[in-house]
Symmetry: C2
Subunit: 278 residues, 2 copies
């Protein structure tokens, strides 16, 4: 059995007990406690709608994924409200910033400016394209705060350049920084990528997969969708990321309908996990 399938055969609780990074451990514990591997991606520009959706889907999600840089009239009172919802509904926060600059710049983008991402986002992510300095720059800010970083090893869009040796180098960059890099945005497990040996038995990377949908094959701007069963059972990923599949196109949300979709995705994601560890 490869190290990669060994990780996929373990329960979230078993993995939580062993993980050294505080953000990864907290996420795995939350998944187990809530029986939810659902991350809801809340991509709306209106702050009231943003908070309404999170308040509605929060009970069903282990993680809320944000793009705070698209929200109109952002200020830190919005973050205070987000943190209240995080406590009330027991989810972690993942600012999907996709950092992609040199070390000195990303350290400032992560810590400073209007958004002060490091001060409130348990998990964030980065593209490996600048090389290892992006990790050391972000780690200089995030590690003392107990944060975790995901690398974008693959993307679910058509024509993505994050393939082949790019993906392999991303995984090897992560291996060299395992105290801060907790996993990947990817479509499959990564433990076997970029290595021919099977010695990293304790290597546990969280795999979060975007592009998950039950009702649609894609959108007009290049996004492509897979089902929770394909993503979690067959490809061994750990967290499904779902956005518009749950809250639709935005505007005034229909609370009951959004709850129903969130519950549906949570149930599908959890059933796919149970089928995997069986």
């Amino acid at each position: 059995m490869s190290s990669s399938s060994r990780i996929a055969a373990q329960t979230y609780a078993q993995r939580a007990a062993k993980h050294a990074n505080p953000a990864a451990k907290a996420l795995l514990e939350t998944i187990e406690r809530k029986q939810s591997n659902l991350c809801v991606s809340v991509d709306v520009t209106d702050r009231d709608e943003f908070l309404d959706i999170i308040d509605t889907v929060g009970p069903y999600a282990c993680l809320i994924k944000t793009h705070v840089d698209i929200i109109e009239h952002f200020d830190l009172s919005l973050i205070e409200r987000l943190q209240e919802l995080s406590s009330a509904h027991d989810f972690l926060i993942f600012e999907d910033r996709k950092f992609a600059d040199i070390g000195n710049t990303v350290a400032l983008q992560y810590s400073s400016g209007v958004h002060k991402i490091a001060s409130w986002s348990h998990i964030t992510n980065a593209h490996p394209v600048p090389g290892p300095s992006i990790i050391s720059g972000l780690a200089s800010v995030g590690k003392p705060l107990g944060r975790g970083l995901l690398l974008l090893a693959e993307m679910s869009t058509k024509g993505s350049l994050a393939t082949g040796s790019y993906t392999e180098e991303a995984v090897n960059m992560a291996r060299a920084h395992r105290d801060f890099v907790i996993g990947f945005i990817a479509q499959r497990r990564m433990e076997a990528v970029g290595t021919s040996t099977d010695t990293n038995n304790d290597e546990d990377f969280l795999i979060l997969s975007p592009g998950v949908g039950l009702d649609s094959k894609g959108d007009a701007m290049g996004q492509q969708y897979r089902t929770p069963k394909e993503v979690v059972t067959e490809s061994g990923c750990d967290v499904i990321i779902v956005g518009r599949g749950i809250y639709g196109k935005g505007g005034n949300i229909d609370v009951q309908s959004v709850q129903k979709q969130a519950e549906r995705y949570r149930n599908e994601g959890w059933a796919a996990y149970q089928a995997r560890i069986r």
Copy 2:
């Protein structure tokens, strides 16, 4: 003579006269008018210092490169002041956002949120890693406003993954979107990359090069430096991007010293260009 050296042998004025994109044309005209191919990268978090540096270096620069997401207490009054300085000192604005997400998300990040980048930044940039949808997403916002996009075909950091086939695919993505993609962040000319033919004689991509320094070989976070002569004369790049080499480590700036450095880099960059077209 290859198409690539043909472009490098032309004057900025000749290229301005032929360029179809309004932002590229304006930049080439500004370079010629001010005899400056210097872009100053202003990477400070304090808004007063940000404006002071720009007011000081503005007369010597064709372009000011910003990271508005690192500035504390940002609001649109800062942008109004930046636009006043842009008019007074005759430079264009380049928000170095390094967009790197799917089409739908980058369209919102470019147009919306606190920063509203598309409303004031003549030029911005993006990583090609998500595939062509990132260009169409940004073009849906920027093209109607006459904006221009640079792709990051290469990076100057150690261990960058933007090499080889990644760079080639970036150039081919740009070729397919020449109405909006005006050039590259790169270390050399790109017209010959990814093509074996010499038929694209009218292909004019602007090449903007970071990592330019006269006094230092690099920093502790993976940035590496080259001289204006190496970048402009030898590698055929069009614009040198200089940051801390001009204004130092920040804090209260010494206006005369910063002016002197800005003038020095402008003169070196222009001499390197004149040596190239001679």
